[in-house]
């Protein structure tokens, strides 16, 4: 039920529910994912990983492995010709551990062999002797001065404070709590995979890889291989989801090294279990927070201490931390704050980017607090949020003024206007109520709860980073070729880009050239940024080409190019009768332009956490209706109502897909998705035991898209990928609290948390 702009034509232009070109191939199993890559005479690569969360490597003996027929290479840290470490922000993660292993699953050796089974045998034949050390798996313990430093860079990855306004203010109403979040996995379905083909003579390597950011991979691989950037050429392999887990290097360097070592193409792909060890996860966090407010519920001051467990290596922890602390106020006005944030190194699996990027943790804490504040002030959950709702022009606790369109109150009231679901019927289909196929519950066992969550999310990279995007547009004979390095991970740029070209240039046929590093960077497909950034680049390139086309037509027909516009598929003189189809006008002529889109610069935070560190913001509200079997602690989310600040809807069906998918992921975090750790070891690295929501768990989603075009955004559209998964988690938690009367300070909420 989107209120998207109605389109008067059936052309797949901006605003139309254009269908993805890869959709049918994906649902029918014909899409070529990276794990389907193949090359003649290729070898398989595999990785030996640490079984210990913390240990000293005494010796590695691979003599027996070398004797196995079919084994072509065995490489360790000694075989890394360039930089021995990599990392997105700090380069602190070894390509191969050589002296110390710091988490279970850390790579130590890679092998290449003629068959995956030969690889497996070779790995089994390698003998590593460890001196096992006591792992440090509690972030608070890791921070203590007497604790052993896990890494030369120390146990503190980053500390940042936000100190602003009156530091002594005490509100008439004070509510506080400590909230915890477990470790969520991105659990994309298309496993890590790459194919590396060495240049003859070993001068370089051609790689096909499922990633989120080709140019960043290229940079990190080249540094480790000690090769010039242009010797590492990356082409995007088919990606089956990412959610942040493909931002960091996983198998890329290993695969390239093995290819150069053997002078043979190397294929690497992770199994589902290895995937859990091979990529970063969402940070577990512990957040203490205290709100000071007036009796009428107006927030006056926030105090908070936030601790993010970064695991063994830094990855993007420092940026996640900045996002966490700068969003702890939520989408609410607040002038006084004392916030202390820590990103900490432990011997847990490394954590980094995941959809929501630090804001998920903050939102769970601030929304839990809003409900406490509502109770303390005698307000409803909706009232307390409306009283405090931020508007454009408000100043954040970082001192940054919110210049983005900020329809927070509208998100809340429009969500509130969505009809509640029908009450649970006494003769409801047993499969469709709590307990599902388990037939645990009857309607009289079930209590219904309602809960709210509202969030603010930054868009694009922050903290002075210039994450620009590049695109090239070529028009000839009425056909547009677009070239960019923008990674399609499922978000839909593959359909959005042609929609932009059709709208700007009046063509119907748009060809996407191979997505690779043979053009400038597009930045990462993350931070809800590609529609804005790469969309802006494609739009910019197409507009430049349109200008060339108008100049060409104007010259030929003696019309001032300024009078020309595109109308459907024609070039039209606004002030006369002249009309020519774009196809005809571009026949035999090539127009080509490249455009880089940069967002406005941002600043780093100062020591007091002050600075214009973010580019822009998006907002969303969620209302969850949840049925709870209070006695058994089982839940079923019945309905999620949401109104999301999207700026402008460019493709309604794709936008709804992002909203529904994000809600399912946030639901997973609320009630089932958690990597269970026991002293640094994962207990459930499989889809048997890492539970993702099924069709019977997914709720009805009723979505309203609030269209208030964002002036800063090239297409008026805000990024919409992350917001759906952020405030839905606290909304579901609040609904369960509402049904049970329990505090439930930790997600995911387990059955025993509800009923024991």
């Amino acid at each position: 039920m989107s209120n998207a702009t109605k389109i008067s034509t059936n052309r797949d232009i901006l605003g139309a529910s254009a269908l993805r070109p890869d959709g049918a191939a994906k649902v029918s199993g014909k899409f070529e994912f990276s794990s389907d890559l193949h090359a003649e005479h290729m070898l398989w690569g595999a990785t030996l990983r640490s079984p210990h969360p913390f240990a000293r490597i005494i010796s590695i003996d691979f003599s027996a492995a070398y004797k196995i027929s079919g084994v072509e290479a065995i490489i360790t840290a000694q075989d890394v010709p360039g930089k021995k470490t990599y990392g997105l922000i700090a380069s602190d993660q070894p390509v191969f551990a050589s002296e110390i292993v710091r988490y279970v699953g850390e790579p130590i050796v890679a092998v290449a062999a003629d068959h995956p089974e030969t690889c497996r045998r070779a790995l089994a034949a390698i003998k590593v002797v460890y001196e096992v050390l006591t792992p440090i798996t509690d972030a608070e313990v890791a921070l203590l001065p007497q604790t052993l430093q896990i890494h030369p860079d120390g146990n503190l990855i980053r500390h940042q404070r936000i100190v602003t306004g009156d530091q002594d203010l005490q509100g008439d109403v004070i509510v506080e709590g400590t909230y915890e979040m477990g470790m969520q996995d991105q659990a994309f379905l298309g496993l890590e995979a790459a194919l590396a083909i060495p240049d003859s003579g070993g001068a370089g390597v051609e790689m096909y890889v499922a990633t989120q950011w080709l140019h960043e991979d290229q940079k990190q691989i080249a540094a480790c291989l000690n090769l010039p950037l242009d010797k590492i050429r990356l082409t995007l392999g088919g990606v089956g989801g990412a959610f942040g887990a493909r931002e960091d290097i996983s198998l890329q360097v290993h695969c390239a090294l093995l290819a150069l070592h053997t002078s043979r193409p190397i294929k690497m792909q992770y199994s589902r279990e290895e995937s859990f060890y091979g990529h970063v996860h969402r940070h577990p966090a512990k957040i203490w927070i205290r709100h000071h407010a007036t009796r009428s519920g107006v927030i006056q001051r926030i105090e908070s201490r936030m601790v993010f467990d970064g695991g063994a290596y830094a990855s993007t922890s420092s940026a996640v931390l900045i996002n966490g602390i700068t969003h702890i106020q939520g989408p609410y006005k607040c002038s006084n704050a004392t916030v202390d944030g820590f990103a900490v190194r432990t011997n847990n699996p490394p954590c980094g980017a995941m959809r929501g990027f630090g804001v998920v943790q903050a939102c769970y804490a601030h929304e839990s607090q809003m409900d406490k504040l509502a109770v303390a002030c005698g307000l409803s959950p909706v009232e307390v949020r409306l009283v405090n709702a931020m508007v454009t022009g408000d100043k954040l606790i970082t001192g940054q003024v919110v210049e983005s369109v900020a329809p927070v109150a509208r998100c809340i009231t429009e969500t509130d206007s969505i009809a509640m679901p029908a009450p649970l019927a006494h003769d409801a289909n047993a499969l469709e109520i709590v307990g599902g196929s388990g037939l645990t519950s009857l309607p009289h066992n079930i209590v219904r709860g309602v809960g709210w969550g509202v969030s603010i999310k930054n868009l694009m990279y922050s903290d002075s980073f210039d994450d620009f995007a590049t695109a090239r547009c070529r028009l000839q004979d009425g056909v547009v070729h677009l070239k960019y390095a923008t990674v399609e991970v499922g978000q839909g740029f593959v359909i959005l880009a042609p929609q932009i070209a059709r709208s700007v240039l009046g063509v119907d046929e748009v060809v996407i050239d191979p997505v690779d590093t043979r053009i400038g960077s597009a930045g990462s497909t993350s931070a809800s940024r590609q529609t804005w950034m790469s969309g802006g680049a494609v739009d910019g390139a197409c507009r430049l080409v349109r200008q060339r086309l108008f100049e060409h037509v104007g010259k030929l027909h003696d019309i001032d190019p300024l009078r020309l516009v595109i109308e459907d598929t024609d070039v039209v003189d606004m002030l006369g009768d002249f009309r020519i189809s774009v196809i005809e006008a571009s026949t035999g002529v090539l127009f080509e332009e490249t455009f880089e889109h940069h967002h406005r610069p941002t600043e780093e935070l100062d020591a007091n956490g002050q600075g214009n560190c973010h580019v822009a913001f998006a907002f969303v509200a969620h209302r969850a209706v949840v049925d709870v079997d209070v006695e058994l602690g089982l839940v079923k989310v019945i309905q999620i109502a949401t109104a999301q600040d999207v700026g402008r809807v460019l493709n309604p069906i794709a936008a709804l897909g992002q909203i529904e998918g994000g809600i399912a992921q946030g639901l997973g975090l609320a009630v089932m998705e958690e990597i269970v750790l026991d002293n640094g070891k994962m207990r459930n690295p499989s889809f048997t035991d890492y539970l993702l929501p099924t069709a019977l768990d997914a709720p009805e989603v009723v979505a309203i898209m609030i269209e208030e075009p964002e002036p800063q955004a090239p297409l008026g559209a805000k990024g919409i990928g992350e917001p759906p998964c952020i405030s839905v988690t606290p909304a579901i938690a609040a609904a369960i609290r509402n049904a049970t009367g329990r505090d439930l300070p930790r997600v995911p909420i387990r059955p025993q948390d509800i009923c024991l």
């Binding site: 279990e273 037939l439 645990t440 058994l632 024991l756």
Partner: protein, 283 residues
Amino acid sequence: MTVAIPQTLREALAFSSANPNAQIIQGGTDLMVEINFNHRKPTDVIALRRVEEIRNYAYTADKSKVIVGAGLPYQKMEHGEIAELFPALAQAARTVGSPQIRAAGSIGGNLGTCSPAGDALPVLSALNAEVNLRTETGSRDISVHDFMIGVKRNDRKPGELIISVTLPIIQGWQGYAKVGVRNAMVISVASCCLVVDRKLGAISVALGAVGPTIIRCRETEQWLATQIDLKSISAVAPNLLKEFGERIANESKPIDDHRSTAAYRRHAVATLSRRLLVRANTK
């Protein structure tokens, strides 16, 4: 690795007699996971999927029992005659995995693996099923209680094939319930099957995933029979219901693991058994 693909029961028995230690595969829903994880590396495999004789069911001559083929897929038990005769089995069958898994998985596989979380096993236990084993030269029938020995251990001897189970048709209510952390396609955290035999005035309760193997709550069954008349439907008093659940929980032997805690599992079987007893006594 050799894989034998017999087309008939006779061929299957010949293969298993010739190679008594061969790994038997039925639907493969457990075994293939173990192979994929490298937990098991069988050298010889006998695949029973094509043996049609064990993918059916039939009444015994006196019509008092039904013989269910070890290879009958769970999908076929969800509806139809089996579901009418053994509602608890149909309910358990519906909780097994996804539609794809239910099209492959079977009672033979559940018994062969003998995991305490095997979804159909509490039903077989509560129904006092007999397991029918065959070799090329002989056959034997064994009570399911004696067949299930421990965690993933059963009494199948080398060379024997599980060909069917015999289930008595019981006059009275029966039902099954299973707790998992999502609403479908989930491994059991705790499960319970309750069967009332109105003719005998007896009740049987079996629990899954709360001990090394399926647990029959015989003490509680006998105690309840002294408290209420099980030959007719009668409301169970709240204090009796409470004690019933507590006694059931006391007979369970759950552990803490990554799926749940012992305390929750005890609570879950108490709750499920009470609810099933109420359902059994609700018209």
